[in-house]
Amino acid sequence: MVTNLPSSEVQRKPKDYKSDVHPDWCPGCGDFGIVNAIQQAMAELQLKPSQVLMYSGVGCSSKTPHYINTYGVHTLHGRSLPFATGSHLANPDLQVVVAGGDGDGYGIGAGHFLNAGRRNANLAYIVYDNEVYGLTKGQASPTLKLGVKTKSLPLPNPNEGINPLAIAVSAGYTFVARSYAFDAKHLKETIKRAILHKGMALVDVLQPCPTYNNLRTKDWFAEEVEIGGTKYPRTYHLDEKGYDGKVHNPADEREIEAKKLQALQKVEASEPQIALGVFYEVELPTFLERVKPNIPLLQKYTSCKMPIEDPSTHVPTTDLSAAYAEVLTNTH
């Protein structure tokens, strides 16, 4: 959900979202495309840089926040979601966007990835999916398919590759999409939608790693595939094929169930072409919306703004008398 709607005063350009740090990715890395798309999406949404908190884990991809001119937090390998969730819950006025690698998110971070679905916090999570652990020199990531041997592997991959989109749908993500690092416009639009989405959004971005993944290269993505004698582009856009992943009436459990199944069917399908787009989308109460009824003060203040002291004397303002009464014995 966007919390910072366009301000009439300034009109920000993508370059306003560029920091002065030079990206140190390898030439041709798909990460360049993704960061550009994020910056463009932010510009088109006119997000206020000081209200944006860009999170990441650790990996090549996770250097992203340093290249974006907003508050940025480069956390621990696999832990971006819990960190980001903490910031979002304590200050939901911030627009929290999370970026990171597939190893980071689906490997070491898999437990957080799964459990984030249950919470449906208002976060946009962009995963740079290059099928390898880039920064540690190209080991297999959880999305690399079984038996594949990239040039960086001594032996073929003995693990089946997971389908992160299917898992996200089953885990409770309320927005599940796929895009491609060099499909600039589609990626930017998808990221915009993920940011605008109220709830937990996943964008899995197919990302060439020219240095270690010699199989899923930019060229490979540009190749055409043959289906029944005819050639088609490697990727296609779901919405252009009339696919609609959105639940239009979130109160209708049947529609939710049907749309989930449709999404699972689509993401599990072994097509020759790769579908890009939003597979599933539904607006449901977020974590904070769920807890607010139980914690009255949260309806009045965000956690980080709750008054706790007298500003001049610094005397704590929390009145514990009621809590003390439960344990005091002043009844004799």
Binding site: G72, E309, H332
Partner: protein
């Protein structure tokens, strides 16, 4: 010969049959009467059925530990009888249910008197009188045991009534008369003859000041609330989760308590929350605390205030998960690879639990670094009656935070480059932090070494500047934290024997001190509260004044003694340890210290208690 207001009582039974609530009633009754109480709780890692017990000590004066002898043992199952019968002192009493226990089969001292309580009969009567089904009344065996016990001390029943009213409030108030009826029937069983045969008396002190009855997890939770902690993330674990559940059960204070998928998530979430400015905390015990290593190091290098509690329990690994130990000091002091400043605090009683919990948030904000508070199972689960917390001097210190005006002023300078030097070098090691959302305050965080803006830097000169800056905070903390939050010396300033201790072990030592002094032993007790930065100079001075130094702590290796030696070079001459998972009693400590002073035993390992 009557003994007044010096009473040691024990009740036991299978887990889940109300042992804890009996103890609560007993403790509250005594405290309401103005007496001082300390209750020790022992239970298995089990939900229902295994043996648990509560030992309560009542005293005329404030009391901080239990004693080994049991004056009165109240049982309603046979297991408790078999396990604890031998602990009852001569002239003490053993209460039991004749339907389940044959006292002649027990290991009772011949001078112990026995009394069968008519549990079933009383409940049947009450059932008949009130129409309540008998099955529902079974839990009231507890009330019978408590009331009969108190009756034997000639304790006025009115205090039981008051206690019941304090326990059953709101919708449960209707349980007061029912319980009182049961209590009255139990009272009626205790004849004057029995009372005469029992020398222990509990005499109310109606003018005594009001007391609080708390355990450590509640005291900590209250300290967090007072400090303004409004975000708590946790993952369930014994005995830490009671604290989080307390906060969850008091939503009116506005704390968002998030149950996470694991402890890694819990610490990261607290750190993420803290970055926005909220005071944030997370609590766990050993196994979960260990999973927080990486998050702590990240908070260290990113200078994020965060408060992490570790309620120590019997280790290693799952160990003795519901038992007591002080086994995590070294791990907590050195947790996480690499080097960063951390503040480590160890409260020693319920009042310190409250104060250290409050202070921890100030330390975190002032020094912008993680604060670890080390509690232990005895603090967490034992219960004490104490004077209400003194709030007079509590002040909140949020440390160096950039105001919007300050940031705007910086931004108006011609050399402003659009980012804020959040990690700027500073003499005291602390930089002024901005918060996400503040205009002109944009900065970055990273677990990598970084420049003043928070961007990755592998430059060696920057590295030295940053490492030096961060580590200087320890010097600042050592200077800033008041002396009595660093260490406390009990007893005379100069003494032949100085005992060094920490955490809940302070309790039995404080109680032992006057006894040993009355033996004629010149002795004092040094409690260390601040473990990092360690008050090495003061500890050196104090230990150098003593002729003999004795370390008393509840672990195998003598962890505080190791730290004292590391920091001062001074070795303990003697050690008293216990690692059975059961806390030390006053009785044990007195005996051990007597043995050391008399026989110069190098190391005494204590073993008492089931």
């Amino acid at each position: 010969m009557e003994i007044t207001n010096q009473f040691s009582w024990m009740i036991g039974g299978p887990q889940g049959t109300g042992v804890d609530s009996s103890a609560t009633l007993f403790i509250r009754s005594c405290a309401v009467a103005g007496l001082n109480v300390y209750g020790k709780r022992e239970y298995h890692s089990n939900i229902m059925g295994e043996h648990s017990y509560f030992q309560v000590r009542v005293s005329e004066n404030p009391v901080h530990s239990h004693v080994d002898p049991v004056h009165l043992l109240a049982t309603f199952d046979d297991e408790t009888a078999r396990i604890h019968a031998h602990e009852v002192v001569p002239n003490g009493y053993f209460l039991y249910d004749a339907n389940v226990t044959k006292p002649e089969t027990l290991d009772l001292h011949p001078d112990v008197k026995i009394l069968a309580l008519p549990y079933s009969q009383i409940l049947e009567e009450v059932s008949a009188e009130t129409g309540q089904p008998l099955a529902k009344l079974q839990i009231m065996k507890n009330t019978i045991a408590v009331a009969a016990s108190l009756a034997m001390t000639c304790f006025e029943i009115q205090y039981i009534e008051k206690a019941l009213k304090g326990i059953f409030t709101g919708g449960k108030a209707k349980l007061v008369p029912l319980n009182l009826k049961v209590a009255e029937k139990a009272y009626a069983c205790i004849t004057q003859e029995i009372k005469n045969a029992f020398p222990y008396r509990l005499v109310a002190k109606p003018d005594a000041p009001a007391q609080m009855i708390v355990n450590g997890t509640t005291a900590v939770a209250l300290g967090k609330l007072k400090a303004g902690c409004r975000f708590q993330s946790y993952y369930p674990i014994t005995p830490a989760s009671d604290e989080s559940v307390y906060l969850e059960s008091h939503p009116e204070y506005g704390v968002n308590v998030v149950q996470c998928e694991d402890e890694i998530s819990a610490v990261c979430m607290a750190v993420g929350a803290s970055l926005t400015g909220v005071r944030a905390s997370t609590s766990s015990s050993g196994p979960g605390f260990g999973l927080k290593a990486e998050g702590l190091g990240w908070a260290g290098i990113n200078e994020v205030p965060v408060v992490v509690f570790n309620y120590q329990r019997g280790g290693p690994s799952t160990g003795l998960p519901t038992r007591h130990e002080q086994g995590d000091l070294l791990f907590s002091l050195f947790i996480c690879h690499g080097e960063y400043p951390k503040i480590v605090v160890a409260p020693g009683d319920m009042t310190e639990c409250f104060n250290d919990s409050f202070n921890a948030f100030n330390y975190a904000d002032q020094f912008q670094t993680p604060v670890i508070v080390l509690c232990d199972k005895a603090l967490a689960n034992n219960t004490a009656s104490i004077l209400p917390f003194d709030e007079t001097n509590l002040r909140i210190n949020r440390g160096k935070r950039a105001s919007d005006e300050y940031l705007a002023e910086l931004a108006s300078r011609p050399d402003f480059n659009g980012k804020y030097p959040r990690f700027a070098n500073s003499e005291d090691g602390v930089s002024t932090r901005s918060l996400p959302g503040q205009e002109n305050g944009i900065y970055w965080c990273t677990g990598d070494e970084h420049d003043v803006y928070g961007h990755i830097s592998e430059d060696p000169e920057n590295r030295i500047m940053m490492d030096d800056k961060r580590m200087r905070k320890l010097e600042l903390a050592a200077k800033t934290i008041p002396q009595d939050e660093q260490w406390k010396l009990y007893g005379p300033e100069n003494a032949d024997y100085t005992v060094v201790t920490w955490g809940s072990t302070k309790g039995p030592l404080l109680d032992a001190l006057p006894i040993l002094q009355s033996d004629g032993i010149s002795i004092n007790v040094l409690q260390i509260r601040l473990m990092s930065p360690f008050p090495a100079e003061a500890v050196s001075q104090i230990l150098n004044r003593a002729k003999v130094r004795i370390g008393v702590e509840q672990n195998f290796t003598g962890q505080l003694a190791k730290i004292v030696r590391m920091e001062t070079g001074i070795k303990m001459d003697h050690m008293v340890s216990k690692y059975t998972g059961r806390p030390m009693s006053e009785t044990e400590v007195v005996a051990a210290l007597r043995e050391i002073t008399k026989q110069k035993t190098e190391k005494v390992v204590l073993t008492y208690g089931h």
